[in-house]
């Protein structure tokens, strides 16, 4: 049973993540607490969503580096549409549509013109990052709909058997913001839904089957009658839309958004890392969204756990780098066991 589980493609990263959680729970006082769980969420949920889109593209044998900039671009578009007087939901839909257009452009460059996806999306990463700087004049903006309203409620306390009514201040955000990022579990719920949806798409639908076919044997897929262009382009679109959604979620959660292109690129690299650590291959044909979820969780847990342990911030990236390499070694080793055992 354990062997069978370990030989699942996601198995090794799930075990490694659980071990990391166990280690930090035992070695630090506050790791295994509700408060810390809330703390970890932003270090993991957004990257899980970004990684889900990346998994789709990597399975198709392509990669999208531009998600870093889409993630930055979409909240600024959201802001612009709101400035133009549109309601929040319409702004969101339009921001996601803009993200989809970026996906279409990426897809056309790769599939119609024939530029490699690495180069195409690298160009898009820089270009769209630059466009965001131009649109925003390199200035941060407050996210519409995310403003916090404070109002006072009377709370009844019982002190020494006496009822005392005291006014207390309560911070509230609007319903839109609660759903799209600002609610405590909003990003987590989005991440779980999207990861699950992506996994179903990948394993239980024609879309997924054709994506695997194109990534695994491009010529064979064409010979079988699969529309290779459509398959790749629509995965570019989904990947981009996920990134656009994460952009809005993160900006709403923070209440404002800064056009920080370097930070955006780092988010992209984290998402790609999460996908790869989770067991998705860069060469195409193989990948798992569930694995990417745990890949992202592993990275979040590591960062949070090391911080709680009081590891010097200067050492953090160094240790993260080593951990990524270590997780990959475990993956490859388990992969060999898997091949030997004859289990998919």
């Amino acid at each position: 049973m354990l062997v069978r589980f370990l030989t699942l493609r996601e198995g090794s990263i799930i075990v490694v993540t659980l071990l990391a959680i166990l280690y930090f729970s035992l070695s630090t006082e506050h790791f295994f607490s509700h408060a810390n769980f809330i703390n970890v969420l932003p270090y993991f949920a957004p990257f899980a969503i970004l990684a889900a889109g990346e998994v789709l593209l990597m399975v198709a044998g392509e990669i999208d580096l531009s998600i870093g900039s889409v993630y930055l671009f979409s909240p600024f578009m959201f802001y612009q549409f709101n400035e133009a007087g549109l309601p929040l939901v319409a702004c969101l839909i339009l921001a996601l549509l803009c993200s989809a257009v970026v996906g279409v452009i990426n897809g056309i460059f790769v599939e119609v013109i024939g530029v490699s996806s690495f180069i195409t999306t690298l160009g898009m990463l820089l270009g769209l990052g630059g466009l965001t700087l131009i649109i925003s004049h390199a200035q941060p903006v407050a996210m519409p709909g995310a403003d916090v309203t404070t109002h006072t409620v009377n709370v009844t306390h019982i002190v020494n058997g006496q009822k005392i009514v005291l006014p207390e201040q309560v911070n509230e955000v609007g319903t839109f913001a609660k759903i799209f990022g600002a609610g405590a579990y909003s990003e987590l719920i989005w991440a779980l839904v999207i990861i699950l949806g992506t996994q179903v798409l990948l394993t239980l639908t024609r879309w997924g089957t054709y994506t695997i076919a194109v990534g695994g044997n491009r010529l064979g897929a064409r010979e079988a009658g699969i529309n290779v262009r459509l398959t790749v382009i629509r995965n570019f679109i989904v990947c981009s839309v996920f990134a656009g959604l994460v952009g809005v979620l993160e900006a709403t959660r923070a209440g404002s958004v800064t056009p920080d292109t370097a930070g955006a690129s780092e988010s992209m690299f984290r998402a790609v890392s999460a996908a790869v650590i989770g067991g998705t291959l860069l060469i195409g044909g193989v990948g798992t969204a569930i694995g990417a979820l745990f890949g992202a969780l592993f990275l979040g847990v590591l960062r949070d756990g090391l911080t709680l342990k009081g590891v010097n911030a200067d050492y953090l990236d160094f240790i993260l780098g080593l951990a990524i390499l270590g997780a990959m070694v475990v993956n490859i080793y388990v992969g060999k066991v898997r091949k030997g055992s004859g289990v998919g």
Binding site: V200, T205, R206, W207, I212, A213, G215, G216, G220, G225
Partner: protein, 261 residues
């Protein structure tokens, strides 16, 4: 033979400076098994890919059951009853036997886009049993299978489809003796049933003479030989091909070496 289900008329195809097909004329009768012979690079696979809708001819036309037809895609050709086993098999290593068997023909739970995995697995089992392939598991990626098993799956996929014109591009290439015999038996059975018409590319003359009704030889992008298998022999086919090789060699030597040594 009965009426032709497929006619290829004056088909030509170039890839840049390379002429793959010069002027090909070919016909296939209903229920007929046509063997297509020719050296590497003679244009066999290109011809197959044109008939299967994978490539479009530069010149010439295809008549399908007497009607001129322009094949727009592999899907289009398949909808007209043409299906093909390509030389490279068109299998996806990462997908299971079942997924490969149903690639581009998946069953879904309508109106939902969710695959009917169980039904497809059952039908895969049935199809494999029907043609006598015994696999211990069909939920494993085809990467795990032997070359012969993979080839058998590619053949089974096409033979069990609804196609009535089947193209087999070297179906015996990766096969051991036992699996090869199985495919030949399968072709013989289809030939006896007479429902489907088959074009089969092979290198082994004995196999072609045994399995086919008629032989075409393609040389340098043209059909140069067309006889019923009953009227020809391994010796005759061999002689033609060796003759071509000698002619080509003399021409090449003459060109490269003006002294004519």
């Amino acid at each position: 033979m009965a009426e032709d289900v497929l006619q290829v008329e004056n088909v030509a195809k170039r890839f840049g400076p390379v002429t793959a097909l010069r002027d090909v004329n070919l016909h296939l009768g209903k229920g007929e098994v046509l063997g297509l012979l020719g050296d590497n690079g003679a244009g066999k696979s290109t011809l197959i890919k044109i008939i299967s809708g994978f490539q479009k001819p530069d010149e010439g036309r295809l008549l399908l059951r007497g009607e001129e037809t322009e094949l727009k895609s592999v899907d289009h050709a398949r909808s007209l009853g043409i299906d093909c086993v390509y030389q490279d098999l068109a299998l996806v290593n990462e997908l299971s036997v079942t997924s490969n068997m149903f690639l581009r023909r998946e069953h879904v739970h309508k109106p939902f886009p969710i695959l009917k995995r169980r039904a497809m697995a059952r039908d895969t089992r049935k199809a494999l049993d029907q043609i006598g392939i015994n696999l211990p598991r069909i939920d494993v990626p085809v990467a795990r299978l032997s070359g012969g098993q993979r080839q058998a799956i590619a053949v089974a996929r096409t033979v069990t489809s609804d196609a009535d014109i089947i193209l087999l591009d070297e179906p015996l290439a990766a096969m051991g003796a036992k699996e090869g015999a199985m495919i030949l038996d399968l072709v013989a059975r289809l030939r006896a049933e007479g429902r489907v018409s088959i074009i089969m590319i092979a290198h082994n003359y004995v196999h072609v003479l045994e399995a086919c009704d008629r032989v075409n030889l393609i040389q340098d992008g043209e059909i140069t030989f067309d006889k019923p298998t009953a009227d020809t022999s391994v010796e005759e086919l061999n002689e033609i091909v060796v003759e071509e090789y000698r002619r080509a060699r003399v021409a090449a030597v003459g060109k490269d070496d003006p002294a004519g040594r």
